[in-house]
Structures are given as C-alpha cells and as structure tokens.
Subunit: 291 residues, 2 copies
C-alpha cells in the first residue's frame, strides 16, 4: 500500500458525510438551498504536474481546465472558482492564462489566497458547480451489459508532453491547454449510468469505475480512439497515460450515445481483474499511480 | 508596492463577479438556490505559517480553524471543507488533528486532493458556509459614529508562538489551536455594520476595515484587551501581531454588544491615516504584511 493510499484511507474515515461520496468520486455533491452543489479541489505541483520552465499561462489554464473537467464528469454547470496561489516566477503570465481560461469557460474567480513560499510551487483550485440533473452521475452506477464509451482519443496529451519535454517543436496544445467536456457532460449526465473524466489514464480510470460499480470492463483496443499522429507501437502507452480529460461513461444496453463518442467496451460480471483488454488481463501499471 | 499586492491587483480585474466582493473581503458571498453560500480558501505554508517540527495535528487544527474564522466573520454556519494536502512527515498526526478540529466544530470533510511534493509543504483548505442573515456583513459598512469592538484579547497567540519557538514550556495553546468565534459571529451578523476576523494584527486589520468603510478608527489603547501574561512593554507588539482570530466589528452608536466584547474605539470621518491610536498616527508596520 502506497503512502498516499494509507493517508486517503485515514481521511475516508473523516469523510462520512454522504456529500463526500466516500472520497471515491471526482466531486462532492451537496444539496444546498433547494439545488445541488458540485464541488472539487485539485492541486498542481511544480515538477510533478508541470515541467520546470513551462509557460505559467498554460499552467493556469490547465489548473482551471482540470477542475472544470471534474465538474463536466458530473454534468455540472460551473459557478465559480477559488484559487490557492503560491507566488513565484512568471506571475503575470499566470494571471494572463487564468483570465483566458476563466473567459473561455465562462466562470468567475470568486476568491482564494496568495502566499509566498520557497521551493517548488503548489497551486490549488476549488471549482463549484450547479448540478443540472438528479441523481448526479457517479462512478458506481455501471451495470452488467452496459456499454462503455469515450468522448475522444487518448494519447494526444502524452505526445504533447513529450514534444514539450524534448523541445521537438511538435504540437503540444492538448497537454498544455486541455478542454473540459462541459457540454458533453451536461448532455450525458441524465443518461449515463456511470461517468468520470480520464485524468490518470484510460486503463486505470476504467478500472476505478469498474471497481466502484462492481463490474469488469472488457475493452476492445481496436475500438479505442487514438490521435492520428500516434505510432501504433505507442497505443499501449497511450491507454496508460492521463491528461486527455475525455469523458468515460456507460450507457444502458442499446442506447446510442447522444454526443460524439466511441464505444470501446462493455460491462461484464466482475472478475479478479476490473479491466480486460482484448480478452486478457493487462500487465503492469494501468496508469498514473499516486504515490 | 509589494509583489503580492501587484498580483492581487491583477487578480481583482478577473474577479468582477459581485460574489467575489472585489477580493477585498474575508469570503466570497454567492446566492445559490434559495440560500447564500459563504466561501473562503486559505493556505498554510511550512516555514511561513508554522514552525518546522511543529506537531502536524496542531497545523491541521489551525488550517481548519483559520478558515472557519473567516466564516465566523460573516456569521455563516459551516457546511463543509475541501482539503488540498501535500504529503510529508507526520501525516498520521495531521489526520488526527484534522479529525479533532472537524469534530470540535461540527463540520464534515467533503473532498479535496492529495499530492506528493518536494520542499516546503503547502496546505490549502476551502470552507463552505451557509449565510444566516441578509445582508451578509462585510468590512465596508462602518459609518462615522459607529463604535468599534473586539471579542477578546490580542497578543496571546504571539506569546504562544514565542513559547513554542523558544521552547520555554509556557502555554502555546492559543497559537496552536485557535478557536473561531462562530457563535459570536452568528449573533453579531444581523447587527454589526462591519465585521472581520483579526488574522494579521489588530492595527492592520482595523486599518483595512477603515479603508473599506471610508472612515478612520480612533482606538484607545487602554481599552484594548490583552492577556494577563503580556508584559506592558509588549502591548504595542501585541496590537501588530495576528493569529488571535478574535472578531473586530462595529455597531451603530448606542447599541450594546450582544456578545462578550470590549469597546476599543469609534469610527470618525476619514483622515489620511485609517487608524489613530490614542490620538496619534501609529508608526511602522501595522501588522503582518503579505509580501
């Protein structure tokens, strides 16, 4: 058991309120004032979540986009964000990128805190949303026979990261400026039996949804969408890399997807492996493992 | 102008939504459903907000208490918190202290994020509250003639910090485990013309309230409450040290305080100095200056 796993297990004992969803979902879901609040808080740390020297405007964009992606997975309409900011280099660029993201997604900055610090910078964002349907989708509703879908390719962020890291000059937009699938999430929320965003990798996130739902997902790799630029030899890597922020969701048998999406598998009775690829248990790490 | 001031000025241009209150208040105040959300996000950084080697249970407590103190200043009832946590030493102690604080204040952990990082740790907490009266008090409502009050002494946290730093063995509880004035805030909220919590120091926070309200506060130092253990020679220091988390508020002329509090001054027409002590302009830094 990793250190973070131990800690999260201890925290879960403090998070018994039903709104916390046992800390196993992308968001907290809290009734308030006759409506339902959807809440998430994600952090980014220098050297872990972004490359040293990366444009801080891109970092700001990604901080906003990844939190809004959690709201998208709940079908929630963004209401506002609070920012936890550690001062450092390129703060003007950060504010510029923050403004671009807030404008692009139509969400206001409501508050937050700014501190000075030494060493690697740490950023946090809390995003608030308004649920648009009830119940709010979770990871745990997939049933045997449900179909498994993905709103777009995986692997583009991996290629973008490598281009940026290696300075190849190839396009890195998908890694730097992800787009939360807010409209798709809202359309899917009343229909999907389970939904989440793919942040840590398709296989690991599918495994998490399978475990939360008590099923096994059988995925056909030939159905998984990849970017055109991805070499065939990298398809396995692409399924284990995160940061694409597509939505992964299940629909009842026979229901077509109401948004652009590809059917990549089906929910079967649970086996010892929560995910099966082309009939076999995938080996090795399924994706980004928090340590 | 300090670096943080420049940055906050730039952020204010992004925070034009009325709920953000221009980023000049302790909390964002957002209508949601048929009620009003009160939102705050405060950070703590190792070496800045706590001493290296300090018990992480106390750090957790303080992180919760300082955020709830912002809610107290709005008279809000706490609804839940989201935690941004950087892994490090003594995580078990942190979780223990977090649990103690959440239980003491009756507030649930709703969610958050945990990351690994190197270097000084950074913690963030978002606290959500429910407004209990309308309008929700701000810093900006004090009028000329209003009386200025404080719910308790300033300086105990300073003495506690020094005891801890110097290892004297004297009591450091006030510094380590502050108590947000939640009950007092709720009682005061419908009556106070302005209210805030004293986090950075009595003089600087009074100056901020005065500037937000467009008045000058004339404070009589002999009326300011200090802890019994404070030497007379440290009174000036105590008025410039934060971390006590008492509530500072104004009432209309003639209205007695409905909670235990001391009257320390009066709002006068604005002068070039937002705060006057015993008839004179205070010299030097008024409190903890964010840099």
């Amino acid at each position: 058991m990793s250190k973070e796993s131990d800690l999260i297990a201890a925290m879960r004992k403090l998070a018994l309120h039903p709104a916390a969803r046992g800390l196993t979902d992308d968001c907290a879901v809290l009734p308030f004032g006759g409506e339902t609040l959807v809440l998430t808080h994600d952090m980014m740390v220098e050297g872990v979540h972004w490359l040293p020297g990366q444009d801080m405007a891109d970092v700001a964009w990604k901080l906003v986009a990844t939190n809004l992606s959690d709201l998208a997975a709940k079908g929630a309409e963004p209401v506002g964000v609070l920012l936890g900011f550690t001062l450092g280099e390129e703060d003007t660029r950060f504010v510029a990128g923050l403004g671009e993201a807030l404008q692009a997604f139509g969400v206001p900055l409501l508050g937050g805190d700014t501190v000075s610090g030494n060493g690697p910078r740490s950023l946090g964002l809390t995003a608030l949303g308004r649920a648009t349907c009830s119940p709010v989708p979770s990871r745990s509703g997939a049933k045997v026979g449900d179909t498994l879908w993905l709103t777009g390719p995986v692997g583009a962020a991996m290629l973008g990261f490598e281009a940026l890291r290696d300075g190849t000059g190839r396009d890195s937009t998908t890694f730097r400026r992800p787009l939360p699938r807010l409209a798709e999430g809202r359309t899917l929320a009343p229909l999907a039996t389970a939904m989440m965003d793919v942040s840590d990798g398709l296989l690991i996130d599918a495994a998490r949804m399978a475990q939360a739902s008590g099923v096994t997902f059988a995925i056909a790799s030939e159905s998984v969408p990849f970017p055109a630029a991805l070499p065939d030899s990298r398809r396995d890597d692409a399924m284990r890399w995160g940061d694409d922020y597509e939505l992964l969701f299940t629909l009842p048998p026979g229901l077509p997807a109401p948004v652009a999406a590809l059917r990549i598998g089906v929910a079967q009775a649970a086996t010892s492996s929560p995910v099966i690829i082309d009939g076999a248990v995938p080996h090795g790490n399924l994706g980004y493992m928090h340590d």
